[in-house]
């Protein structure tokens, strides 16, 4: 919004200083602010990377800027901890919870968006109401329930993958279903109606016509569930008590809880490994992110 008519009239008379002043006023300060924010955003990331590469592997010797590069910490992590098992557990929970949640949520959203039935309104409002009771608030009851369930079915008791996955799936229908329903509503009804006229069943309409059209919202819900599951701590800490059954997040917590200074290098490697799947998912889904987030998803 700088008025630049004088410049247009006599460009040759403007000195370098004036040009710099104009640039600074219009764009320069923005660069300055962004450098500042980027520094704030980057320094912990830089620190964790440099600590991961730090050959000494202690917290007290880790610098902001890498002082050396060695894979000793990574080797220690693999040798001294069941890292591969932890990582496998984390990915198992994140991937299976995201995949099944997307499927269950999409099924429900299709019914809410395309069908009119008794209890639809109650169901939709009920989904909103249940959001006020986050599942982890009922952790005491879930713990007591699974104390009993584990006696009958050791396969889904504490220290098993399936038990915790079942609990996570209890949160499958959530605000995400609303998000999906809103997106389903934007797909023109004429599309599935014409398919029905051509003889498609409702299942065929759902799997062959709707799902391909709503990929963006499926991707964004999958992303959100993946991230929140891989970072989930509370319920996992109550359920998974055996070292072998822990997720990477719990394992890292245990690692620095016992030996904070000495194990920091290993922790830093683990922290980067834990962030890699999230970074990858972000990278592949980036074109959906802004669109999906602005439709009202929740994080941070």
């Amino acid at each position: 919004m700088t008025v630049d008519t004088p410049a247009a009239r006599a460009p040759h008379r403007r000195g370098a200083a004036t040009r710099f002043a104009l640039w600074a006023k219009r764009l320069g300060w923005r660069h300055a602010v962004m450098w500042l924010v980027a520094a704030f955003a980057l320094f912990p990331v830089l620190f964790v990377v440099s600590a991961a590469l730090n050959p000494l592997g202690t917290l007290s010797s880790a610098q902001l800027w890498p002082t050396g590069a060695s894979l000793a910490n990574a080797a220690d992590l693999f040798r001294n901890t069941p890292f591969a098992t932890w990582y496998g557990n984390s990915l198992f929970f994140a991937v299976s919870n995201a995949a099944i949640t997307v499927l269950l949520s999409a099924l429900a959203a299709y019914a809410f968006s395309r069908m009119r039935f008794k209890g639809r309104r109650v169901g939709l409002i009920g989904l909103l109401v249940i959001q006020m009771f986050p599942q982890f608030l009922a952790i005491v009851a879930i713990y007591l329930m699974f104390t009993n369930i584990g006696e009958y079915y050791p396969a889904i008791g504490f220290d098993t993958r399936w038990g915790l996955l079942l609990v996570y799936l209890g949160g499958a229908l959530s605000i995400n279903t609303w998000l999906m329903k809103g997106f389903f509503d934007t797909v023109p009804k004429e599309l599935d109606e014409s398919a029905q006229m051509d003889g498609a069943s409702h299942a065929q309409v759902f799997f062959r016509i709707m799902l391909p059209l709503v990929t963006p919202v499926l991707a964004i819900v999958g992303l959100l569930v993946f991230i929140s599951t891989i970072n989930e701590f509370l319920m996992a800490s109550v359920f998974l008590r055996d070292t072998e059954t822990k997720t990477l997040g719990l394992g890292l917590y245990q690692l620095v809880a016992s030996q904070r200074n000495a194990n920091f290098g290993m922790f830093a490697v683990g922290a980067i490994m834990l962030s890699l799947p999230t970074l990858a998912v972000f990278w592949f889904l980036q074109r959906y992110i802004t669109e999906g987030l602005t439709s009202g998803a929740v994080k941070g």
């Binding site: 962004m34 964790v48 209890g170 509503d185 299942a203």
Partner: protein
């Protein structure tokens, strides 16, 4: 998964009017593959049902069997009937929702009016068995066992078990439930100790030491009036109980001291004349006592309201700060022809793409007094997490770092939806850049941002990781070791239930219910102002 009976069923009530088609709404029978898949899934589900019934049948739990049969029946009805098309899509999610969210919420409410805790776990009979076993003393002719202490599961938290070998090298396992023979155990012939047994973790002496407090209270009940207790780390004896329950007076008599403890069914424990109680009690309903303690008892009320105040302040300040920072960054980048914008975007969003769990732990370690990055870079020796206010600031700072990229993304999206001409028109009318932003852009922005701000507030209100992973709720003042300066209600609840010497499930459940109520009030107020509910009728 359509069934051909769809053609007979009328369209669901309220369906948009359309000319009746020859074959009804959904004409097709579905593909052959779909039918096969449906049959296979139903078969699998039936197998699951059978698997679920077996242990219930063994335990004679007829209520459980009835429940399983009802659920399987419901699934069959929904997927084989033609009139339940919406239910076919809703049932899988709803089953999970009911089992693992709605039921736990109801169970939490019912637990919140009991005294369920470590001293009050089972029913009265179990309490009596534990009291008698615990009071066992050594007789001259007590049988001796060689003891190996083990746990079921984790050495630190698993239930204790005694692996015992008698003089005849017979191996037994004793748990809080009773004594059983142990088959397939490996016994060290020299010491007679069990070295390995399937399903049990043998503890090292150091691990046994760590659990000596639990060990003190552990006894294996055997035949009536007798039990097995440990004496030292590697031997145990069976003796007779000095405390005996008498059904006639509903009391426990201590044969050594002569004291009589009468059952108090309101408080769920045995009390003597002086009001002293036996440690082992049973679970009873206590009405609203748990709630009353948090609201009326001076000590607990002051921690509860203190935590509540900080909890609201924490959620509000994090929400406000991430909004301000995120919006400022979005506005800074919201200009045409800014070189390097793509790079800036990636750098600024990076914290959001990192694992938040690991990053909280990283922030905690950066604030470490002896080794932390901040103290070393600034040359200080400040105990950041040891002082109430600096710990609070640290928790907020870490959350702003993790949270602002999300607000930046959302604000960028919202800014792009606002036509740039509006701001320019305001400036032509004589408004300064600030005025144009304050009076034109911001109000339009807030329409899109308000629901997201409410959601962010609600999320941070219960942001367990944010506090637990950085400060564990601390620092704690010496006169109140249960409520810390950065505690949120949810971390306080967690500590009461899982992180104290004695687990207090009843109180924790009551706290959960109070959080439900607080969040509900906040949500109802904010929802009634947003448009979300209007979408239902669309």
């Amino acid at each position: 998964m359509a069934s051909n009976t769809d053609s007979e069923g009328a369209p669901s009530p309220g369906a948009p009017a359309r000319p009746p088609l020859p074959a009804g709404r959904f004409a097709g029978t579905g593909s052959l593959g779909g039918q096969l898949l449906k049959t296979a899934l139903l078969g699998l589900f039936t197998a699951l049902g059978v698997w679920a019934v077996l242990p219930l049948y063994v335990a004679d739990n007829w209520w459980g069997i009835g429940l399983v049969v009802a659920v399987v029946g419901l699934v069959y009805w929904v997927y084989l009937s033609g009139r339940t098309v919406p239910a076919k899509y809703l049932l899988p999610g709803v089953l999970f929702l009911t089992a693992f969210q709605i039921l736990p919420v109801l169970y939490t409410m019912s637990t919140s009016v009991t005294n369920l805790s470590d001293g009050h776990r089972g029913d009265k009979e179990q309490a009596i068995a534990a009291i008698e076993a615990f009071s066992v003393t050594r007789d001259p002719d007590s049988p001796e066992y060689t003891l190996t202490v083990a746990t079921m599961g984790d050495p630190e938290t698993g239930e204790l078990a005694f692996l015992l070998t008698d003089a005849g090298d017979e191996a037994y396992v004793g748990t809080a439930e009773g004594l059983d023979t142990l088959s397939g155990a490996e016994v060290d012939p020299a010491s007679g100790k069990v070295t390995d047994a399937f399903g049990y973790t043998v503890l090292t002496p150091a691990e046994v030491n760590a659990r000596s407090a639990d060990l003190q209270e552990f006894a294996v009940p055997t035949d009536s009036g007798a039990g097995i207790r440990s004496s030292g780390l590697s031997s145990a004896f069976e003796g007779s109980a000095t405390r005996v329950y008498d059904e006639d007076c509903d009391c426990v008599t201590d044969t050594e001291s002569g004291a009589v403890y009468h059952a108090d069914d309101e408080r769920g424990a045995f009390y003597n004349e002086e009001g002293e109680r036996l440690a082992q009690g049973w679970q009873v309903g206590v009405g609203l006592d748990n709630f009353a303690r948090f609201l009326l008892n001076p000590t607990f009320a002051s921690s509860f309201f203190g935590i509540l105040l900080w909890n609201v302040a924490f959620a509000a300040s994090v929400t406000f700060l991430v909004f301000v920072v995120g919006l400022a960054v979005a506005l800074t980048l919201h200009v045409p022809r800014l070189r390097g914008r793509a790079l800036y975007r990636i750098l600024v969003v990076l914290p959001y793409a990192m694992s938040s769990l690991a990053m909280y732990l990283l922030w905690r370690d950066m604030f470490n007094t002896d080794f932390g990055l901040f103290n070393r870079m600034l040359g200080l020796q400040v105990d950041w997490l040891g002082d109430a206010w600096s710990a609070r600031a640290a928790v907020i700072l870490a959350n702003v770092w993790l949270g602002y990229p999300y607000m930046f993304l959302v604000a960028t999206g919202a800014l792009q939806a606002i036509p740039r001409e509006l701001g320019q028109a305001a400036q032509i009318d004589g408004a300064g850049p600030w005025q144009a932003f304050r009076n034109v852009t911001l109000p339009l922005l807030m329409v899109a941002m308000t629901p997201i701000l409410i959601a962010t507030f609600a999320f941070n209100f219960n942001n367990f990781n944010a506090v637990w992973l950085i400060s564990k709720g601390g620092p704690f003042s010496p006169d109140n070791p249960t409520a810390g300066a950065t505690d949120l209600l949810i971390t306080y609840t967690y500590r009461l239930a899982f992180n104290e010497a004695t687990a207090q499930y009843g109180y924790a459940a009551a706290l959960s219910v109070m959080i439900f109520v607080i969040v509900s009030v906040i949500s109802v107020v904010s929802l009634s102002r947003s448009k979300a509910l209007q979408e239902v009728d669309r």
